[in-house]
Amino acid sequence: MSVTAAPSWSRARQEPGWLARVFDSKPFLIVACLFPAVGLLMVFLTYPLGLGIWLAFTDTRIGRSGQWVGLENFEYLMGDPTFWTAVFYSVFYTAVATVGKFALGLWLALLLNNHLPFKSLIRAIILLPWIVPTVLSAIAFWWIYDPQFSIISYVFVDVLGLRDRYFDFLGSAWPARFSLIAANIWRGIPFVAICLLAGLQTISPSLYEAALLDGATPWQRFTRITVPLLMPILAIVMTFSIIFTFTDFQLVYAITRGGPVNSTHLMATLAFQRGIAGQELAEGAAIAVAMIPFLVFATLFSYFALARRKWQQGESND
């Protein structure tokens, strides 16, 4: 059977058409498969980024194309106290809000990791602040912080009688800064909590049982088991959280527009204010470009932290 079948089989084989040959060639496939992705990246990421960087070195305004002015925009920004206030507040805002979000988020995650009645319902509810569009929650906070109509002032002054004056949340620099940070923390907690909860659930219960048998205290279990095993996901979540917080825009723009007297401008809001509202497109771009080093730092931090196995798998595993 096989003797007669073999020649007929080899005769049936045809030379592949040019299309098939093209699709068989590895270089072509690489180009063809990468092209859509590279094309999208070029059009929607590289081009705008490149344009933004180019604009930062010109004197473009809205409605007038600019000329190359070198570092003039950056030189001006170096001497601009408003810019430095924005840099300071961006870093401060990110640092304080991140610490707050992680402290409270981790706490919430640990609570949610216990067996509670209606566990899934509670977890869904926890996500609400994160799901609500930021602009809506920002407007809600705008009312909460309103000098005349604040619910907090109302409770303290008119209901409890603990104060005789309304709170002035947004009227001076530091209270306004902390009010915005509080709003940002409120919004950011669910993201952190849910991510860390996912991390907590990957920790095998047998580790805790073993520790319990060895007589470990709850604090020891937390520091020796939970924290080290949570580290990898903590690093990722923290990187994301830092980037989101650093580039925050909507909360500040909706609640204070950077006021009072520019004390709550973040670099992102200042860039928008100068570039779009103020029509100094080039200067806005320069401020946006000045954010890049901070964001690169945050990304590199995560990259190296994640690449380190010590972080991921404990001290002794080199």
């Binding site: 305004r61 809205i62 409605g63 007038r64 194309s65 001006y76 106290p81 912080y145 309103d146 000098p147 005349q148 109509f149 004056r165 309304y166 002035d168 949340f169 947004l170 009227g171 001076s172 620099a173 306004a176 204070t256 527009r257 950077g258 006021g259 009072p260 007297v261 520019n262 204010q273 100068r274 779009i276 509202a277 103020g278 029509q279 100094e280």
Partner: protein, 443 residues
């Protein structure tokens, strides 16, 4: 003046502005005196169609009547017109894109400075402007200022109207404070605000980053003290004795404000006033309109009156206007249709119902519309009647450029006052900082 028009007043607005406007549209149009002047010959291009953009409405009739008028133009001239209403903050960028790309709407009703920024890309509108001016008794001061190209007689924009923010106050509170009206003298005005504060019915003006209200207050204070940001040539002149006086004055005046004005944005004073937390502020007609139309606040509206901003050291109310300025870009394929559209919208058959329906929200730009029934419909609208006629403009005393708009949107003047009011800076520091920032923008 008022007595002469009692008949129209009676037809007028007792039954609500909108209804009256719809019912007596033709009758009202008769009332505006106008000359029979030869209209410019504008043969409509065949197959013409127009796209118009303008800022979104603040009061409902603004959009409704504007659309009706555009519809009427479509029918009479057989030119389809599409009107798009764009958010107030978006129309500037859209105008810029239109100007730079050479495509987009045929008629742009943008903001005051825009025609001056894109002057080279616009069709001259002098024929329409001169015709309308002759027909309706001439243009108001600000209309001419913003319509004509700097230092020429060439019209590049047709101002449709402007909103202003005079003083809005509670009659009862001001009486209680011992005043019959809003004093023009700044010292007296300070005493009024101090008395209001003592009565626990304080005044309040926005010192936060509020584009309209904040800049309105800052400009008022500056001009009322005889100071100005730039001189006639556009050189920065803010660092002056007069500005320091203004800053010291605001420092004292701020003590009388309702708490929280440093964080006020544009809607804040409306809310505080409607909630009876603030008893004297400056605002456009929209506040009164909203109070009057809501049964819950009608009592507040009845106790409300308007007054021009106190003059201080100058002889006219130191007030500018936010102006709606129409322009036609060179790229349009139907320039005659576009011009005809603008002209049509400014004729009294269309313009007067619009003005009336908006209850004076956009103060008129052509003089004879001062006779419009709307201004007599409610004596409280008085200060808005001359809204376009005050000899002050944003960037006073300089030429109109993009820079004056940027100074406003960067809140340079507002922040100068806010930093002194909050005690963050001395008047000298604040004025130097404002000078530094303004120099950069006017470079």
């Amino acid at each position: 003046m008022t007595n002469r028009y009692t008949r129209r007043t009676a037809i007028g607005l007792g039954a609500g502005a909108l209804a009256a406007a719809a019912l007596s549209r033709e009758g009202l149009a008769q009332a505006i005196p106008r000359q029979d002047v030869q209209a410019p010959r504008l043969p409509i291009e065949s197959g013409a169609q127009l796209r118009v953009i303008r800022p979104a409405r603040f009061v409902e009739p603004d959009e409704v009547i504007f659309r009706e008028n555009a519809q009427k133009f479509s029918q009479q001239f057989n030119v389809p017109v599409r009107v798009d209403f764009v958010g107030w903050e978006d129309i500037r960028p859209q105008t810029a894109v239109t100007a730079n790309t050479g495509t987009g709407p045929d008629v742009v009703l943008g903001w005051a400075d825009d025609p001056h920024i894109y002057a080279d890309k616009l069709i001259e509108l002098s024929d329409v402007a001169e015709y309308l001016g002759r027909r309706y008794g001439g243009w108001m001061f600000l209309a001419e200022k913003y319509g004509k190209r700097h230092a020429t007689n060439n019209w590049i924009g047709i101002p449709f109207g402007g909103t202003t923010g005079p003083i809005v106050y509670r009659i009862s509170a001001v009486r209680e404070a011992g005043f019959q009206s809003i004093p023009d003298d700044l010292g007296e005005f300070l005493r009024l605000c101090q008395a209001l504060k003592r009565l626990n019915k304080p005044a309040g003006f926005a010192l936060g980053n509020a584009v309209g209200d904040g800049n309105g207050f800052a400009n008022w204070m500056t001009w009322a003290h005889g100071a100005y940001l730039v001189d006639e040539e556009g050189k920065i002149a803010i660092n002056s004795r007069q500005t320091l006086d203004a800053l010291n004055y605001v420092k004292e005046l701020y003590q009388t404000f309702v708490p929280g004005t440093l964080s006020w944005l544009d809607p804040s004073n409306n809310r505080a006033y409607a909630a009876q937390e603030c008893w004297l502020t400056a605002n456009g007609i929209s506040l009164y309109y909203a109070l009057k139309n809501d049964p819950n606040t009608r009592a507040i509206a009845e106790d409300t009156d308007h007054a021009p901003l106190p003059k201080g050291r100058v002889d006219q109310p130191p007030q500018s206007a936010t102006i709606l300025n129409a322009m036609v870009f060179r790229h349009t394929r139907f320039p005659n249709a576009a011009k005809a559209f603008i002209q049509f919208m400014m004729e009294s058959e269309q313009y007067d119902p619009w003005l009336t329906g908006c209850l004076g929200y956009w103060s008129h730009s052509l003089r004879n519309y001062s006779r419009s029934a709307v201004w007599d419909s409610d004596p409280k609208l008085g200060p808005y009647r001359n809204g376009m006629n005050h000899p002050f403009w944003s960037g006073y005393k300089g030429p109109i450029t993009a820079a004056s708009g940027t100074v406003n949107s960067e809140y340079i003047m507002v922040q100068m006052y806010a930093s002194v009011a909050s005690g963050q800076a001395t008047p000298e520091q604040a004025v130097r900082e404002a000078e530094r920032r303004a120099r950069r923008i006017y470079r």
